[in-house]
């Protein structure tokens, strides 16, 4: 990492400028994430509520460029803005927020430890694995019961439908392991792959932004 931080004594002016840059970058990346939510690519052979979109990308880049906490802030704002146009009464947004925070937070923290191209790849692979592991309890105790009670989405029906396609599905646990885990792994790896290729030409810019917003003298 190049040491380009300001050598001025830590005063409120510098702190204010850093805060402004963080706010501006965070806001613009949020806008981009919301925008990318509309560029959905429907996945072949997947139910419509498991859609694939790029909206996790700006959040990941934000998490790399501003730090993991700001990645979480972008994730929160993205879901808040999407809430009025929700088709799942906010349940989709809630689960997207929880899984997104885990994914982006893990990736951001690991990337900060090894700032390099390899570091980015490792960070995203680990984040994807963590995401797949965490999606089991999140879906089992939160998303599926909520869908069931709020929208009248009977769990038995989901299991029945999935069993018709996937013979491994027998009950709630096997549904999670045989359908939701592979889906999350797949989604996580696709997002990780795209982020990796997008991140390569941008890595200088990302590190510059990180240095500009994390002046060691003020933080």
């Amino acid at each position: 990492m190049t040491e380009t931080h300001v050598t001025v004594k830590a005063d409120s002016r510098v702190a204010r400028k850093i805060m402004l840059r963080r706010i501006a970058a965070c806001a613009i990346l949020t806008a981009m994430a919301v925008l990318l939510m509309y560029l959905e690519i429907p996945l072949p052979f997947m139910p419509s509520f498991l859609k694939f979109d790029f909206s996790e990308l700006p959040v990941l880049i934000g998490s790399f460029a501003l730090g993991p906490v700001w990645g979480i802030v972008i994730e929160l704002l993205k879901n808040l803005i999407h809430l009025p146009v929700t088709q799942t009464m906010g349940i989709g947004e809630l689960s997207n927020f929880i899984t997104g925070v885990i994914y982006v937070g893990t990736a951001g923290i690991i990337y900060r430890i090894f700032v390099s191209k390899k570091g980015a790849a490792i960070a995203m692979i680990i984040a994807t694995l963590v995401l797949a592991a965490v999606s089991v309890p999140v879906n089992a105790f939160l998303t599926l019961p909520l869908y069931g009670s709020v929208m009248g989405f009977p769990l038995e029906a989901i299991i029945g439908m999935s069993a018709a396609v996937n013979p491994l599905v027998k009950d709630k646990l096997s549904l999670l392991l045989a359908v939701f885990v592979p889906f999350n792994l797949f989604k996580g790896f696709i997002v990780a792959g795209i982020t990796y290729f997008v991140h390569l030409p941008l890595s200088k810019l990302i590190n510059k932004t990180y240095n500009a917003t994390h002046d060691p003298a003020t933080t």
Partner: protein, 269 residues
């Protein structure tokens, strides 16, 4: 295609609900969300239907707007209805063929579920999304979550970021459109080919988009600095939210109506 996306579904009009304080509407949104989740009896749903008609009249929502709000959820409602019809096995069997059986209880339950979902969306969107601009909503959120500042949550900064994001979504949409056209003229392809090909096409859009976004963010930070923005402390608003007696009464009346519906539902069980 990206140019005409709309964030939220605000419907401009001059009605009672439009001029109600957004904080009141946000609270009522939460109240009705919880109330509708709790009810299951047909009579309670009928009473709720009456209340929602009242909300529609107060918000001056025309049937045309209502239909366009409901259009995107029709497949979901149908899906939930059909799934419930086929999976509920209690009650008298009306129709049976091999493993499929439809019961009268199943149809009535499925109908209630579907109607409830429709009412939920109508009620929440007339209360909030159709009658409140996104900017007012972020103002309301800032004001409602102000107590969290005690535990050091940067509520003002979050709401500022939300407002900036809302402001920049159309700008970035135009930008994305421009980049997509520029890359298309160089031979990029987004619509044909396999999934991998489409993703590859989008990467050529995303990289310039990120670069221009970061540049925009830098310019914005300089502009905010030049105008002496320094956070929430002591900042005044052009249109501060004012809670009037009418707003308080509206809030109390609609909350009581929601409680009434829940009480009716529980007494019938």
């Amino acid at each position: 295609m990206l140019k005409d996306i709309s964030i939220g579904r605000y419907y401009p009009a001059n009605s009672f609900l439009h001029s109600t304080d957004p904080r009141v509407k946000a609270i009522l949104y939460a109240v009705y969300l919880v109330a509708i989740f709790m009810i299951k009896e047909p009579i309670a749903i009928l009473v709720l239907f009456g209340i929602i008609v009242l909300q529609l009249i107060l918000g001056k929502i025309t049937p045309r707007i209502l239909i366009s709000t409901l259009k995107p959820i029709i497949p979901l409602v149908l899906f939930i209805f059909i799934i419930n019809v086929f999976t509920i096995k209690q009650g008298n069997v009306l129709f049976a063929w091999k493993i499929i059986s439809i019961t009268d209880y199943g149809i009535s339950r499925a109908g209630i579920m579907a109607v409830r979902l429709v009412l939920l969306i109508v009620s929440t969107s007339t209360l909030l999304t159709l009658t409140t601009t996104p900017l007012k909503m972020s103002d309301a959120l800032e004001s409602l979550f102000k107590p969290l500042q005690v535990i050091k949550v940067p509520v003002h900064e979050m709401s500022m970021m939300m407002s900036i994001a809302l402001r920049f979504i159309p700008t970035l949409a135009v930008e994305t459109d421009k980049i997509m056209k520029a890359q298309q003229s160089r031979g990029a392809d987004y619509d044909t080919g396999s999934f991998i090909n489409k993703v590859k096409g989008y990467i050529t859009v995303l990289i310039p988009l990120f670069v221009s976004s970061f540049r925009r963010a830098d310019e914005l930070a300089v502009a905010m600095d030049a105008r002496c923005y320094r956070g929430g402390k002591g900042r005044t608003k052009l249109n501060p939210l004012k809670l009037t007696l009418r707003d308080v009464l509206t809030c109390i009346m609609f909350t009581l109506l929601a409680v009434l519906v829940v009480v009716i539902d529980f007494s019938l069980r």
